[in-house]
């Protein structure tokens, strides 16, 4: 029982990371209707941005690990990723705005390959040790919890879940309550009409990329706090799983992406813990396929009627 609960906690920690990355996939899909394959690599960029800014911020905040320092690293990495996201969109996707989506998809694959290989060339292929910006340790659970005090919850896990929740609430506020959010929703609904109503589509699309990429950057830092080893190919697997999560939740739906991420994280932990890690990926995909067959637009995806 304790082992089962522990696996759920493990899964939740990993799932929150997937959720943050999945949000970026789903937001871009919402406004542009295409899969940004380079998104997982933006997450990798976030981790490396953290690696490079951490020594500076740590010095600024007194040398040792601290919450203020970690927050600064997090925000800086998010800013770097937002800039990278906007730049990628502007350079590689914008010129193809009126072209078939498949072209943009191939361009995205090109960008992804470029980031991975340039990353190996610039950062080096071997894993890098991520500096300790927050001391990741197990929390001391009160003895009054009885058998549950045996559970291990780490600072990193708590932080990941907490930050993910905060970012989700913030994102919801942006989408629901701000003019840009309104414009995003209008664009997702009907780009032509939105444009006629005075929405500057270019600005809104750039904003969406920036926002999604910032979330991926946050995920990059949060992973690095827990796992402290980063490499240029870390975005491949995480990006793939997050993409699966976004589709599982219903691509285009923000709560769907978050839900999908957490579900994939939990499923992986349970398969690894109780069946075998060698079946992890096959089972994750099998579950995805079964769910899509029952509900072809994902768990929370709206049904899109195709018009003639």
């Amino acid at each position: 029982m304790i082992e089962f609960l522990q696996q759920l906690i493990n899964g939740l920690g990993q799932g929150s990371i997937y959720a943050l990355i999945a949000l970026g996939y789903t937001m871009v899909y919402g406004v542009l209707r295409f899969i940004n394959f380079a998104h997982g690599d933006v997450y990798m960029l976030g981790a490396f941005a953290g690696l490079y800014v951490a020594p500076w911020t740590l010095r600024l905040f007194g040398g040792g690990p601290s919450f203020a320092g970690a927050a600064a690293v997090l925000l800086l990495a998010m800013a770097v990723c937002a800039a990278a996201g906007v730049a990628i969109e502007w350079l590689c996707y914008r010129p193809l705005r009126h072209r078939p989506r498949l072209n943009v998809l191939i361009t995205a694959i090109g960008v992804s390959l470029f980031l991975e290989n340039a990353g190996q060339s610039v950062f080096g292929a071997d894993p890098k040790s991520f500096p300790e910006i927050i001391a990741d340790r197990a929390l001391d659970l009160p003895a009054s919890w009885g058998p549950f005090a045996m559970l291990t919850i780490t600072v990193g896990q708590l932080l990941v879940v907490g930050v993910t929740l905060v970012l989700l609430v913030g994102l919801r506020h942006v989408v629901r309550r701000t003019r840009l959010g309104l414009a995003m929703r209008a664009l997702a609904f009907n780009p032509g009409a939105a444009s006629l109503m005075g929405v500057n589509n270019g600005v809104v699309i750039a904003f969406t990329f920036g926002l999604g990429s910032a979330l991926a950057g946050a995920a990059g830092i949060l992973t690095s706090i827990q796992q402290s080893s980063i490499d240029p190919l870390m975005g491949v697997n995480a990006g793939l799983k997050a993409f699966v999560a976004a589709v599982l939740g219903g691509i285009g739906s923000l709560p769907g992406a978050a839900l999908g991420g957490v579900l994939i994280g939990l499923l992986e932990a349970l398969v690894v813990g109780y069946i075998s890690p060698t079946y992890r990926d096959p089972i994750v995909f099998a579950v995805l396929i079964v769910i899509l067959l029952v509900k072809p637009t994902g768990l929370l995806g709206g049904t899109e009627r195709e018009k003639v």
Binding site: Y29, R33, I35, C92, P95, L96, R97, H98, R99, P100, R101, L102, N103, L105, I106, T107, I109, G110, V111, S112, L113, F114, E116, N117, A118, S121, P191, G192, L240, F243, V244, V247, I251, S276, T278, Y279, D281, P282, F285, A286, L288, I289, L292, L293, P296, T297, G298, E306, V308
Partner: protein
């Protein structure tokens, strides 16, 4: 129709003669040429699904894996085997892959676009996962010991037959249905075209040839491993199809050949002693160049190298 058959015959004869004279070729070039042939089969067959029928499959390497493992297992059971055994094993591998294609094609009918893409990708991963857990197939350690049956003759015979079958299918009156499904599924359904039948048929035929390609690969490299049939391998084939201009068979074939030879060409450039050091260094990072080339090509020739000039009507602006 008659012309087409004559052309096929001529191509096969040319292939036989060419393969006969190429036997003495430098083994390195021979290896690259076989690679070209195998990629031709893969790209031309995927083109039926992604190009002509307008579906989006991201799991072609999975079918290739089924064919590779099935045929390798068969020839290994037969103790290496003669050419006849090899050809039969190839066909059996293709059939096994075709069955897998049926298994993927049927449930995929309810899905479209990106959902279909992820399901095919998922099947690719599942196929790899099953092989990776199967001790009889060497699991993660891979399977080796096959004899080298594959040569230029068999590879290009396979490629020519693939191109012939795909173009005949699409070019026939019957095959117009594929294009109808691609151009407007609802309209096609409305005029009485069984879109379901066409979609499944496209998947099965494409998977069959991918299986043949897998069998050829297994009996050329003499060692296969689940890692070799991953998502990136599938992606390679998709890139060939799109770069060649979805649906243009000639274009896709040229793109497949180009993309197979290009990395080797870059390898050659990186060893040119007369080049300045920085240029050699750039060429050494072939994948960086490859990815940049992909981006630039898509930006400057969005219709692919040989694609039709007009974009498809129903694509979102």
């Amino acid at each position: 129709m008659r012309d087409r058959r004559l052309l096929l015959l001529a191509a096969l004869v040319a292939c036989g003669v060419g393969a006969h004279f190429a036997a003495g070729l430098n083994p390195y070039y021979y290896d690259v040429l076989v690679g070209v042939g195998i990629n031709l089969i893969l790209a031309a067959s995927l083109n039926l699904v992604n190009g002509h029928t307008g579906q989006f499959s991201l799991g072609h390497a999975g079918f290739m894996a089924v064919g590779a493992y099935a045929s390798a297992w068969l020839t290994l059971r037969a103790g290496g085997g003669s050419t006849l055994v090899f050809v039969l094993a190839l066909l059996a591998g293709g059939a096994a892959a075709g069955l897998a294609g049926l298994a993927v094609g049927l449930p995929s009918l309810r899905l479209r676009g990106d959902y279909l893409a992820i399901v095919t990708l998922g099947f690719n991963e599942i196929i790899r996962g099953v092989i990776g857990n199967c001790e009889a197939l060497g699991a993660q350690r891979g399977l080796g010991g096959m004899l080298r049956h594959t040569d230029l003759f068999w590879t290009f015979t396979g490629a020519i037959l693939t191109v012939y079958v795909v173009t005949s299918l699409v070019g026939s009156t019957y095959g117009r249905g594929f294009l109808a499904v691609r151009d407007d599924e609802i309209a096609a359904e409305a005029v009485g075209i069984g879109t379901t039948k066409y979609k499944v048929l496209a998947f099965v035929v494409a998977a069959f040839f991918a299986g043949i390609a897998g069998g050829l690969y297994a009996h050329f490299k003499q060692y296969i491993n689940p890692e070799g049939f991953n998502f990136f391998r599938s992606m390679d084939i998709v890139v060939m199809v799109i770069l060649g201009g979805m649906g243009s068979t000639a274009g896709v074939c040229v793109a497949a050949a180009l993309l197979t030879v290009l990395p080797e060409g870059l390898r050659w450039v990186s060893h040119l002693a007369s080049l300045p050091a920085w240029l050699q260094h750039v060429a050494e990072n072939r994948m960086i160049l490859y990815s940049l080339l992909l981006i630039v090509l898509m930006l400057t020739r969005p219709q692919g190298l040989f694609g039709p000039r007009t974009a498809r009507a129903h694509d979102r602006p």
